[in-house]
């Protein structure tokens, strides 16, 4: 990281840390939405940005997590934050189950299948599958999250819960990038045949990244359920998947900072320009088109890993 980026990151973290102290509840709530979408987009970025797998059904995994949390909380009185690992598991295993038969599909074919899966999930929720999802009305009366005896109620409190989780996620995902696992995902994106031909088990990594991305989306779903206290199928429509897809592509697939920036723009800007009502979507669409024409690689395109001098200072020559 050069000095400018370190400074920018430090400034951003400092601003985010004190932001709720200076903003009203509405604006804090907008930031909370941005945080949730940022979290979802970061998880989709693993699948779409790092591994290059076209998943346009991410809302399905988000929904699995939210409903798992809501059902466990309202029916079995399990504290909502305790359901985080369970939501992750349910969403992750669901992703593995649906990805297994279709994982060999590429590009647009996979895209169509994932859209289908997310629609199946949504319609199943609307139809009150197994009589536990509450149909079109959804599930209400989800209890407030509690952390060490402190009940999280106000937007300001949720702000720290959500953005704390975002920070934790960024920390883990950046490390993942600099590892054998993260590299394997990039090999998949760049050339699947060459990856397999270099000894990388491509099917395994495709499934693993689907499972991991979905598990993270499931946890974002839990946070969403906790924040809203009421969830319904309309929160997990196809449009959500499209927005997430858009955030990742617009920001720069494979770049954490880019994805976060795009989450701010795509979720934040329409909220700020609410008074222009319908015109804002028109402008938004126009901006998207211009972006794709002038900067198709995204706002901040993915950079390849920079190895430090120490890492490269191996002196040994071969045999």
């Amino acid at each position: 990281m050069n000095r400018f980026t370190s400074f920018a990151v430090a400034l951003f973290v400092a601003l985010m840390a004190v932001a709720p102290l200076f903003l009203n509840a509405y604006h804090v709530d907008v930031l909370n939405s941005i945080g949730l979408y940022g979290l979802l987009a970061l998880s989709l970025n693993l699948i779409l940005g790092e591994a290059g797998l076209f998943n346009m059904g991410h809302a399905a995994f988000y929904a699995m997590g939210a409903y798992t949390a809501a059902i466990l909380n309202t029916r079995y009185q399990i504290p909502i934050l305790w359901t985080l690992p369970l939501s992750a598991l349910v969403a992750g295993f669901f992703a593995l189950a649906v990805a297994r038969p279709v994982v060999h599909l590429r590009g647009d074919y996979l895209l169509i299948v994932t859209i289908g899966v997310s629609e199946i999930v949504r319609i199943a929720l609307v139809n009150d599958v197994f009589g536990i999802t509450g149909g079109a009305n959804g599930i209400f009366g989800i209890s407030r999250p509690e952390l060490f005896g402190f009940v999280i109620r106000q937007p300001q409190h949720f702000y720290y819960l959500i953005w704390g989780f975002v920070a934790f996620t960024i920390f883990l995902f950046l490390r993942l990038k600099q590892s054998r696992f993260g590299r394997a995902l990039n090999y998949l994106r760049e050339d699947e045949v060459a990856a397999e031909g270099s000894g990388v088990n491509t099917d395994y990594y495709k499934l693993a990244v689907f499972g991991l991305g979905a598990a993270w989306a499931g946890m974002a779903g839990t946070l969403f359920a906790a924040k809203m206290t009421i969830i319904s199928p309309e929160s997990f429509s196809f449009w959500e998947s499209v927005v997430l897809f858009m955030i990742v592509i617009l920001g720069g697939a494979g770049n954490v900072a880019g994805v976060l920036l795009a989450a701010f723009l795509v979720i934040g800007l329409p909220e700020l320009f609410r008074e222009f009502s319908s015109a804002r979507m028109l402008v938004f669409g126009l901006v998207m088109m211009v972006m794709m024409l002038v900067r198709p690689q995204g706002l901040l395109p993915a950079k390849s890993r920079q190895f430090s001098f120490a890492e490269l200072s191996n002196k040994g020559s071969f045999r």
Binding site: F181, E196, S198, S304, L312, N314
Partner: protein
């Protein structure tokens, strides 16, 4: 006279193809092909365009599955194994049309070859555990050694797509070598290279052989084939028409006919 008992030696060939056949719809791309590659040899697979050479390579490395016949590598049957498993057994390959990870660095490309010998998983990666860090540094060292070996050490941080054509071919070889193979399968390694680069490649092939790695290559450049290979297998229309040392093969009337046509044609 009593036959002498053969000494206990690993006399099985490293690679053995037995009556291999591959059809694509109505087209038989490879027809009843058998040949062997001995330990430590440099063998060449030659033949006119469309003779089925690359198909044979794809059968060996598991990209295609044969319709008939068997492939043995060091006594292990390869039929039905997936490509990454075959790589794990000790066969590495390069591609006819260079297949690098274009937007990744040269070093990251070579690290792909180190991948299967590493073990750290998802959790170790996310937490950067000390064992993972150590393994990572070992892999980087190993990859740098391979880059040094092919002469690309200085370009380690460059993007693969920014390398010159000949360098890209050498990078592919470095990536293949990083898997620590026993057999290296090169698909037209001199394709698109100029005379100087080809000369350097012949030297590189010799140095790879000196490391005890067996080589099987497809090549159109006859100077390279005649100089580098100890054994040639000639394919035409998917079938084997000749096999033997280069001097013998180049005089074989069938081979001359395949390359130049018969007298009747002239």
């Amino acid at each position: 006279m009593i036959n002498a008992v053969p000494p206990v030696l690993d006399i099985t060939p490293l690679l053995a193809l037995q009556r291999l056949t591959k059809r694509f719809g109505g087209l038989t791309a490879v027809k009843d092909v058998s040949f062997t590659v001995e330990h430590g040899a440099v063998a060449g697979l030659i033949g006119p365009n469309g003779a089925g050479k690359t198909t044979v390579f794809n059968l060996i490395t598991g990209q295609y599955q044969s319709d008939q016949g068997e492939i043995f590598f060091a006594g292990t049957r390869l039929n039905g194994l997936r490509t990454h498993c075959i790589i794990t057994l000790g066969i590495a390959r390069t591609f006819q049309n260079i297949r690098l990870f274009q937007k990744l660095t040269v070093l990251e490309n070579v690290l792909a070859g180190c991948h299967y010998r590493m073990h750290s998983g998802l959790v170790a990666a996310m937490l950067h555990l000390p064992s993972q860090q150590r393994e990572e540094q070992e892999a980087i060292d190993r990859a740098l050694q391979e880059l040094e070996f092919v002469g690309l050490r200085q370009q380690a941080s460059a993007l693969a797509k920014n390398l010159a054509y000949g360098d890209q071919r050498r990078l592919e070889i470095a990536r293949a070598l990083a898997t620590q193979p026993r057999l290296l399968v090169l698909d037209e390694p001199a394709g698109g290279m100029n005379e100087q680069e080809t000369e350097a490649l012949i030297g590189l092939i010799g140095r790879i052989q000196a490391r005890g790695i067996t080589i099987l290559l497809i090549e159109h450049d006859m100077r390279l084939v005649m100089r580098a290979c100890e054994k040639l297998v000639v394919l035409e229309h998917g079938g084997k028409i000749a096999e033997g040392p280069p001097e013998q093969v180049r005089c074989d009337p069938k081979v001359i006919e395949a390359y130049l046509g018969t007298e009747d044609d002239m």
